[in-house]
């Protein structure tokens, strides 16, 4: 495992300089691949990403993603023309289910990203500066954690008016307390590590200590939480859509489709069933990926 310094331009140099890191990655990848379930998770997610970002070019009835009506074929069961059947306006459920993949994946990413960044910043500040700042931020976090998120999200979405954008906003601003708590605890312990002390001694300034020494070491814990959280974000968004305060017709969104299909359940099982399966697949994929991540990154769970 030796690479000659300067052998192949910057790439070779980079590899030579970061041999330890590369070795560590390689080992993690190996451990990750050992678990068949995690590999299945990656396969599912790649498939979903493909569906989400190319779907609009190959779905059979792209118009059906919006508001169209074909009364003559309303509520038809699955057939060769309509793989997943049709809804109450005669729109193709397959097209709408595929279309909804992109919406859910993007919304889930936004929720975890916004919630994560707010939580990391607040938690980092609280953990690093301590004292009164810590007290203030952590008490606010406690209050937010006292409240099961969906009640607050429900109130916010209802207040702002039902729409998918508002549902994403509501979930994003109720998503951060978990990250804040996690990062604060991590920073508190990492702050006391010897290498941080050493950096402080040689005169590194605060941003450098926080961004170069402390945050990178919190990263694995954050990654595990984020990957486990993603599926949950997708579920919560669909839950709001199902209740009726999330996505509004004619936007194709899994939760809203399932909710609409509920009216036709006795004589149109396919209407709710297929979006539900798509959603299950998505959340399942991210959960087993998160599980695999945790096995690799979290030394406590490594067994």
């Amino acid at each position: 495992m030796s690479v000659a310094v300067g052998a192949r331009g910057w790439w070779g140099r980079w590899r030579a300089e970061n041999q330890g890191l590369i070795e560590e990655w390689r080992r993690s990848l190996y451990r990750f691949r050992q678990s068949r379930l995690s590999v299945l998770g990656v396969a599912i997610i790649i498939f979903l990403l493909f569906v989400a970002f190319t779907g609009r070019y190959w779905v059979p009835y792209a118009d059906d993603a919006g508001f169209t009506t074909h009364v003559e074929i309303r509520l038809q069961g699955p057939s060769r023309d309509n793989l997943f059947g049709t809804d109450e306006y005669g729109r193709d459920v397959f097209t709408r289910t595929v279309w909804a993949t992109q919406i859910s994946l993007i919304a889930g990413t936004v929720i975890v990203l916004v919630g994560g960044v707010i939580g990391i910043v607040l938690g980092g500040i609280a953990g690093y500066f301590g004292g009164a700042v810590n007290e203030l931020i952590m008490r606010l976090t406690d209050i937010m954690l006292t409240m099961p998120g969906i009640f607050l999200a429900l109130a916010i979405t209802a207040a702002l008016g039902p729409s998918i954008l508002h549902a994403v906003v509501a979930l994003s601003i109720t998503w951060w307390p978990g990250y804040c708590r996690l990062v604060q605890a991590q920073v508190l312990s990492i702050r006391e590590e010897d290498y941080v002390e050493a950096a402080r001694c040689i005169g590194a300034n605060r941003p450098r200590i926080i961004f170069n020494h402390i945050l990178p070491n919190c990263l694995s814990a954050i990654m595990v939480k984020a990957s486990m959280d993603f599926g949950f974000a997708v579920l919560s968004l669909a839950a709001l859509g199902f209740i009726g305060v999330g996505a509004q017709p004619p936007v194709p969104e899994w939760g809203a489709m399932i909710s609409k299909g509920r009216e036709f359940l006795p004589y149109g099982w396919w209407y709710s069933t297929f979006p539900g399966i798509a959603m299950f697949l998505t959340v399942f994929g991210f959960n087993i990926l998160g599980d695999g991540f945790r096995d690799v990154l979290d030394p406590r769970a490594r067994r």
């Binding site: 006292t146 099961p148 969906i150 009640f151 979405t157 709710s272 599980d291």
Partner: protein, 337 residues
């Protein structure tokens, strides 16, 4: 002395948390662009009628005054009046809450009863098929959109096979058992009415099962990891070396030590199940707090939203306090400070 002081401090700490929670909810629910008064008054209301309604609910005053008025009422147990049905919120909550509590309790019990044996099987037969099965069951149930699963079960078990009722809490043709706790399972047992108990059990089966999935998944995964960790400790090796039977080691030595983290999680599980009740109660038309929350949110009814938030927050805090206290019961080495 130490424990009593600890308990007193924890109980007193609930107060600022609840005040903070009430401020957060109050601000959020009053920053709305929508106009609940207009919604409550109906589309044909005149400006005069709207003004009268505004005065009645006190929403014409500035926000801080409204908040202080609300808090003043709170000390007298008055949670305000719903704009929609004109019921006092406290009365509605008293009516709906037992249904939710019953659902959450039954599903927690289900979660423990199914989750703990699954975790034990997974740990004992580690990396063999019981472990794989329990892992897949746990991961699938945590990934399942419960409202969807509920609908599918309604369709199959209720509509197609007619095994279980589809929705509601009790057979409308049968009189309710006399009200003691508001929880039908308990009430029918108190009245020694096994027929009603059976009916209530049938009605709660599907919603409680759907609600329990999350608990099953979390308990299985967490407890498995902890059992495996404890299995490697010195005292277990010592016991094994001394010839203590495996079964005794598992139940008496390992399980008791491994359960601590699971008990700690019960508080969070309770909170998650309260969240889940919003979905479950909507699907199964279960007349509880979750359904009440959805209806109030849809009509921008402030007072119920505030009341529900405070109730849920209070419950969650109390449950977490109980969890912290119960550590000491399981593990006498833990000291409170």
């Amino acid at each position: 002395m130490g424990f009593r002081y600890y308990l007193l401090r924890r109980v007193l700490l609930i107060i600022p948390v609840l005040i903070g929670l009430s401020i957060v909810t109050f601000v959020i629910s009053h920053m709305v662009p929508g106009d609940p008064i207009r919604l409550a008054a109906g589309p044909q209301a005149t400006a005069e009628q709207i003004h009268k309604l505004e005065e009645e609910f006190g929403v014409d005053k500035p926000l801080p005054v409204q908040y202080l008025n609300y808090m003043r009422g709170l000390f007298k147990g008055d949670l305000g009046i719903s704009m929609m049905n004109r019921h006092p919120v406290a009365m509605d909550l008293r009516r709906y809450f037992p249904a939710t509590l019953e659902l959450v309790l039954v599903s927690t019990v289900l979660g423990v009863v199914i989750g703990v044996p699954m975790a034990m099987a997974a740990a004992v037969f580690r990396d063999r098929w019981p472990d794989q099965v329990s892992r897949i069951v746990a991961l699938s149930s945590i990934s399942m959109p419960v409202f969807w699963l509920g609908m599918i079960l309604q369709l199959i078990l209720g509509m197609t096979w007619h095994l279980l009722p589809i929705s509601g809490r009790f057979d409308p043709r049968v009189p309710f058992p006399p009200n003691v706790t508001g929880m039908l399972l308990v009430d029918s047992l108190v009245a020694a009415d096994l027929h009603s108990f059976g009916i209530a059990l049938k009605y709660i089966a599907l919603p409680a099962f759907c609600q329990a999935l999350l608990g099953i998944a979390l308990i299985t995964r967490l407890l498995r990891a902890d059992i495996l960790e404890v299995m490697e400790r010195d005292f277990v090796i010592m016991a094994r070396a001394s010839g203590v039977p495996e079964r005794v080691i598992l139940f008496k030595y390992v399980l008791k030590n491994a359960l601590i983290a699971t008990v700690a999680m019960m508080g969070f599980l309770f909170g998650w199940q309260l969240s889940g009740s919003v979905m479950i109660e909507t699907v199964f038309d279960w007349p509880g707090v979750g359904l009440y929350a959805v209806k109030s949110a849809m009509t921008l009814d402030f007072m119920p939203i505030m009341g529900i938030t405070l109730l849920v927050g209070l419950l969650f805090t109390i449950v977490n306090l109980l969890v912290d206290i119960s550590y000491g019961v399981i593990d006498p080495r833990i000291r409170y400070g």
